[in-house]
């Protein structure tokens, strides 16, 4: 989803052994590029993103997870699935190098709300 919403921020901390999940709505999506084809590598998220009430939540939207999340083949070949420790504060820049680490979206609520008001502010008509 972050591909189409540049203000979404990935967690990007060192991922652990916890497996990322997807909710019913997001089921089948690649967590990086939203592709529905060729799922390949299982998504691992960091322990903090899988802690307490976050456990089993959808990686993309935070909803209740129903299935395991995968990276698609293309993102795997480009190594967007691997994780290294890039400082989280820079990770919102939509560049290639930052697409590593835990892919859990950490600021979903605000971005959705912001979007609503942004639309209103600039007078976009509701479709």
């Amino acid at each position: 989803m972050a591909k189409h919403h540049p203000d979404l921020i990935f967690c990007r901390k060192q991922a652990g052994v916890a497996i990322g999940r997807l909710c019913e709505k997001c089921d089948g999506k690649c967590v990086i590029c939203d592709s529905y084809v060729r799922p390949c590598t299982l998504v691992r998220i960091c322990d903090e993103c899988n802690y307490g009430s976050y456990q089993g939540r959808c990686v993309i939207c935070g909803g209740p997870g129903v299935s395991d999340a995968y990276y698609c083949k293309e993102c795997t070949i480009q190594e967007k699935d691997l994780r290294s420790n890039i400082s989280p504060k820079r990770s919102n820049l939509p560049t290639f190098a930052q697409r590593d680490g835990c892919p859990k979206i950490v600021n979903l609520g605000s971005s959705k709300t912001d979007l609503f008001y942004e639309r209103k502010k600039y007078g976009f008509k509701k479709r």
Partner: protein
């Protein structure tokens, strides 16, 4: 063009070696890494031989390797740090003989990067945690544990990062069962980076840092850090808990230091040096590798210096406080990359260069008169101890593993006139270098050879009782007699065995539990254990022509194609079956399978007839009918037929045992052994004389041998190096061989050998003399005589440099020789020693058009070359005339040039010489070579020159290939094309007029070709003006070559040659690598083949991913995307997959698993072996 890559011989150099109980039994094994190959070795404690159990290519760079065992476990796991950005934990499965990936945790990007962990691995000695570290900044700690089902579990990684630090080494500190602790040699460069004056950089100190994993908090803390006085290069962990004082030993330049927490003062001991060493005295001494031996009551360390001397290090303790480090000279072995001490008392030394060794530790060096050095001995700062190196005293060599690493040059030619070409390989480094001649074949070790009175025609071995381990008799059959030999300590003739000696024998064997049977032309003789003899005579004038025997059954064929069947009944009687079987033609051969365990008889008999058919006859008497199946090999009814041409004579087959498995020895004009080794079927010729008849042989001295006859001798042979593709003969050389050329008339080799940091013989003798004089001068008046004696002894002392190493002369000191060698006998015909600091870099043998038939050898020599920062005083081209039928070099003249002449090639009756970045044509003159023409536009440094017609293809050291055309009329060298990629070319080979294959120093092979319109245009351009003035983009040539194929081998390739490897085979591109590997690239002949292998590769990539976690496609595309090459090494892993996976893959390909493996084998045998 589509190519298929095959490895003929895997890399032989070892980068890491670890030991442990990987199979989970009491026996210790060694796991070695050979760059991209993981191999499991088992030293046999009884015979002292090292056997390879498993070799797996991992398609990634193995950067670190560690063994660990969970607390209370009995089985060791293998942790692999590689360039895959993943940590992989492997377990060896002895039942399936394979490594199983238990865990694969991703933590970073792939590739060998600065901040992606993988370079260093350290395990907690109690097996609770593992630290994986990068060269810079990042360190991750994984906690290992067991789940309820006793399976290994791994935690999420814990971070122990510190920015701006470099890591030199990491070890796990033995703290018993307290929180796991890791010690790192680190350097913080933050201040040095921010200080432009350079003052901080000069003062930066290395630190020893301890990281503690708090198991309670699940967190890693940087516990303690301390600056070090000397710069350390590695750490040795000291046993702790109940076994020792804990802490670490820091190995640094000239010193070894013990450090631990708390009140423990540092204990520091200088590293002893050789007495009267020729090395530069300013040069420091470091330890390069170590091994720890620990038993319940004691422990010690063996540490090796860079000269190869091993020291035994022991620690003296006083109530868990270390008071003293003691060092004792142990022995000297070649410098190792890794050492392992095994519980059975063996020391495995994986040499840095050349062959690897297994030594037995005969003495621990406790009670000899060798002086012991101690940290408690008072010494001035900067002073050190001295010792005298000596031949082996505590170690006994028991096995040697051949290693070609490093291969610096190779040429393939049939110089010995043997039909099959040989590989002439220049390998090794410094005094351990050699020229090896490789021939395809299995090395045979001869155990015994004895003359016989006549020419025998057959030989068998029999046991006396079915449960005997070893054979009892050897039966040799002559034209009219039979000789019986008994096997014991020696082999002697006996007459009381019960065998009939006055007749030839057709076959003999053990029958039932303890009886023997002898089949001879007139009958069958059944010898019972108590020497009672039953005889069966052939009816009438008929004689037995062929027979087949197993443990319970005998089938004979009489003249005329009649088969008679006998079977042994429970009482041990041999009974004839009344029903006989007439065959339609004469029987030429027949065979019975062994009786399956638990059954009375083998149910089928195979009979080969004159009419080219093989018939299978059922011997099952229960239904009373002879079932007959005719299998016609011509139409292919016999499934999975694989044909190989073995030789010019009819083939005889013999069943033998190899490594506990059945193998077949096939004899024609050459003997071949067909056996299965590491789940691959091998058919290898024996590098031995022609044999006529053979049989398996087992005795105490030789449990798996072969007894064979060859003309009138009886030979007992053993095959020890199963799995080896090449049989090698090595001839030692003095310095590192750089290149050689073959003189085409005499087939002699002209080799140039050059070493950096070395003395020539003359300088060495001079230095020695000087040191001896100093010794005498330094002595006082009364000691003068003693000193003179010592000096004389020093001058006479001559320790072999191949073990003790050559003295290191210092930077910018070069030594070089030019050698003429006969490659068949290996004798040196002529040797020219160059002066100190003259380094030979190139050699060519050529004729000049102005001197007629004489051959000349040109050697390009650099003078006073300093590598870094680079400077050179100039160069010379030495010209020698080859006289005495190519056996002697006659010095003509030397031509000074301004740079290093790194490449020489004959060209149209003159020579092309690459002098630095200048390409020149020289002709032979009376006083020196005469410069005729020059091109100054090559980018950096000419590393090689190839010529074809008027074209010259120059390889630049970092700018790939440049095509140059020589215009004879204008006398100009004109660049007309180049490549678009920057390749750091090491070697090149022409494939055709437009195409060149090259390899670069990063381990890639490429083929580039000029587009079809290029050559025409340039050849027609009469002036060459266009190419001369019409420069392309960024000073490149106006025309560009196209890339035909790209492939990453993974090891630096140093020679490429287009050649045929087997007589009647097709041409292939053969390459050799620095790590000692030999491989080929072969073209596909049909589109179907290519399509098939492409699919095999595709399926294997997904079904059988590489072991260390690196993606196969991305490994083969390391520097350039792989293009038009299919990896046969991956395809051949099909054979080692599990059967159900094999079935899945082959179903996808619409074939059966045997068909796929046959196809894999076919393409290999068509081009090579």
């Amino acid at each position: 063009m589509f190519l298929y890559n095959l490895t003929l011989q895997r890399a032989t150099g070892i980068s890491f070696a670890i030991h442990g109980n990987f199979s989970g039994t009491k026996q210790q094994e060694i796991v070695v890494s050979r760059g991209k190959i993981l191999e499991l070795l088992r030293p046999d404690p009884n015979t002292g031989k090292v056997h390879t159990l498993l070799t797996v290519e991992v398609f990634g760079v193995i950067r670190s390797l560690m063994a660990f065992r969970l607390t209370g476990g009995t089985k060791d796991y293998i942790v692999v740090g590689s360039d895959s950005g993943r940590i992989v934990i492997l377990e060896y499965q002895p039942s399936k003989n394979m490594f199983e990936k238990i865990h694969q945790e991703t933590f970073g990007k792939s590739g060998c990067r600065r901040i992606v962990p993988g370079q260093f691995l350290a395990v907690d000695p109690k097996g609770r945690a593992v630290m994986i570290s990068a060269i810079e900044k990042q360190k991750l700690v994984y906690i290992l544990n067991r789940d309820a089902a006793a399976r290994l579990t791994i935690s999420s990684p814990l971070e122990a990062h510190k920015a701006n630090t470099l890591v030199y080494h990491v070890v796990g500190v033995d703290v018993g069962f307290e929180n796991p602790m890791f010690a790192c040699l680190e350097m913080d460069y933050e201040e040095a980076d921010n200080d432009p004056t350079g003052e901080a950089a000069a003062n930066t100190q290395q630190t020893l840092t301890f990281y503690e994993l708090d198991l309670g908090l699940n967190h890693v803390v940087r516990k303690y850090s301390e600056p070090l006085e000397e710069h350390g290069n590695f750490l040795i962990t000291v046993p702790g808990g109940s076994d020792g004082p804990s802490g670490v030993l820091i190995c640094s330049e000239n010193y070894i230091t013990y450090k631990n927490f708390g009140d423990q003062p540092d204990i520091r001991c200088p590293i002893p040096r050789r007495r009267n060493d020729l090395d530069d005295p300013e040069r420091g001494m470091i330890f390069v590798c170590s091994a720890t031996h620990k038993t319940k009551s004691m422990f010690f360390f063996l540490a090796q210096t860079e000269q190869g001397d091993i020291f035994k290090i022991t620690l003296e303790t006083d109530e868990d406080m270390v008071t003293e480090i003691r060092l004792k000279y142990f022995d000297t072995v070649p410098v190792a990359a890794a050492m392992c001490v095994l519980k059975t008392g063996f020391l495995f030394v994986a040499s840095e260069f050349g062959n690897h060794y297994l030594y037995q530790i005969a003495h621990l060096g406790d009670d000899d008169e060798e002086p012991e050095f101690s940290s408690a001995m008072p010494l001035e700062e900067g002073d050190t101890f001295f010792f005298q190196p000596r031949p082996l005293k505590n170690l006994v060599l028991v096995d040697e593993l051949d290693s070609l690493s490093p291969i610096l040059f190779c040429q393939i030619a049939d110089l010995a006139n043997e039909d099959t070409p040989q590989l002439y390989v220049a390998c090794g480094r410094g005094p351990r270098s050699s020229l090896r001649v490789l021939r395809h074949g299995l090395e045979v070790s001869e155990m015994a050879v004895s003359e016989l009175p006549g020419n025998p025609n057959a030989v068998w071995t029999v046991r006396r009782h079915i449960e005997d381990e070893f054979d009892a008799y050897i039966i040799v059959s002559f034209v009219n007699a039979t000789l019986v030999l008994s096997i014991g300590e020696t082999v002697e003739e006996v007459t009381d065995s019960g065998f009939l000696g006055t007749t030839p024998t057709l076959s003999c064997s053990l029958l039932g539990d303890d009886a023997l049977v002898q089949v001879y032309p007139d009958g069958i003789r059944h010898i019972r254990a108590d020497k009672r003899v039953n005889e069966w005579k052939t009816p009438g004038k008929k004689t037995i022509v062929k027979c087949a025997v197993n443990q319970r059954q005998v089938v004979i064929a009489l003249t005329g194609g009649e088969l008679v069947y006998f079977e042994m009944d429970p009482s041990g009687q041999l009974n004839e079956y009344t029903e006989r079987k007439e065959m339609s033609a004469d029987v030429v051969c027949m065979s019975l399978a062994n009786v399956p365990p638990g059954e009375q008889r083998s149910r089928f008999l195979a009979v080969g007839l004159v009419d080219n058919t093989v018939r299978i006859i059922s011997l099952d008497p229960s239904n009373g009918v002879l079932l007959r199946t005719v299998l016609d090999p011509v139409t292919g009814d016999l499934s999975d037929t694989r044909t190989r041409y073995l030789g010019s004579r009819p083939v005889k087959l013999f069943r033998v045992r190899m490594q506990g498995q059945e193998a077949v020895l096939a004899m024609s004009s050459r003997s071949w052994l067909s056996y299965s080794y590491q789940s691959r079927f091998h058919l290898t010729p024996l590098s031995y004389e022609t044999l006529e008849f053979a049989s398996g042989f087992a005795s105490e001295q030789c449990p798996e041998g072969i007894v064979a006859i060859s003309t009138n001798t009886l030979r007992i042979l053993a095959l020890e190096k199963l799995g080896a593709v090449f049989n090698q003969v090595a001839f030692p050389l003095q310095y590192t061989p750089r290149k050689f050329v073959i003189h085409p008339e005499s087939n002699n080799l002209i080799i140039i050998e050059t070493d950096h940091n070395a003395y020539t013989e003359a300088t060495k003798a001079q230095r020695k003399q000087q040191m001896a004089e100093e010794m005498v001068e330094a002595a006082g008046e009364d000691e003068r005589e003693l000193a003179a004696e010592m000096a004389a002894a020093f001058l006479n002392e001559n320790l072999p440099e191949s073990i003790f190493g050559a003295p290191k002369a210092g930077n910018g000191q070069w030594a070089s020789v030019i050698r003429v060698m006969n490659p068949i006998q290996g004798n040196t015909l002529d040797l020219v020693q160059l002066e100190q600091n003259e380094a030979a870099f190139s050699v060519a043998v050529c004729r000049f058009s102005n001197t007629g038939e004489d051959w000349y050898v040109l050697v390009g020599v650099a003078k006073d070359l300093i590598l870094n920062p680079r400077s050179v005083a100039g160069g010379f081209v030495y010209t020698y005339k080859l006289v005495n039928n190519g056996e002697k070099l006659e010095f003509l003249h030397k031509t000074p040039v301004e740079e290093v002449p790194a490449a020489i090639a004959p060209f149209q009756g003159r020579v092309l010489i690459g002098v630095g970045k200048l390409l020149r044509v020289y002709d032979l003159g009376k006083k020196k070579l005469l410069r005729k023409c020059e091109n100054k536009h090559i980018a950096n440094y000419i590393s090689g020159i190839q010529t074809i017609g008027h074209r010259v293809i120059v390889s630049d050291v970092q700018e790939s290939f440049i095509w140059v055309r020589y215009k004879r009329n204008e006398n100009q060298l004109i660049i007309f094309a180049d490549d678009t990629y920057p390749r750091w070319v090491t070697t090149a080979s022409l494939l055709d007029y437009d195409t060149v294959a090259g390899a670069d120093k990063f381990g890639n092979i490429c083929v580039v070709r000029l587009p079809p319109n290029t050559n025409d245009e340039v050849d027609e351009d009469p002036t060459g003006n266009k190419a001369l003035w019409d420069r392309g983009l960024l000073n490149g040539a106006s025309q560009k070559a196209e890339v035909i194929m790209n492939y990453h081998v993974g090891e630096t390739v140093l020679s490429l040659q287009k050649t045929t490897l087997i007589p009647g085979g097709s041409e292939s591109l053969v390459y050799t690598t620095l790590s000692g590997g030999i491989g080929i690239l072969v073209p596909f002949t049909s589109h179907e083949d290519h399509d098939f292998f492409q699919h095999v590769e595709m399926h294997l990539r997904s079904e059988h991913p590489p072991l260390c976690g690196r993606d196969h496609l991305s490994f083969r595309s390391y520097y350039f995307p792989v293009k038009n090459v299919i990896d046969g090494d991956l395809c051949e892993q099909f054979n080692s997959m599990e059967p159900n996976k094999q079935k899945n893959v082959s179903e996808e390909l619409d074939r059966t698993p045997p068909e796929v493996s046959k196809k894999l084998e076919d393409i290999r045998t068509r081009y090579a072996f």
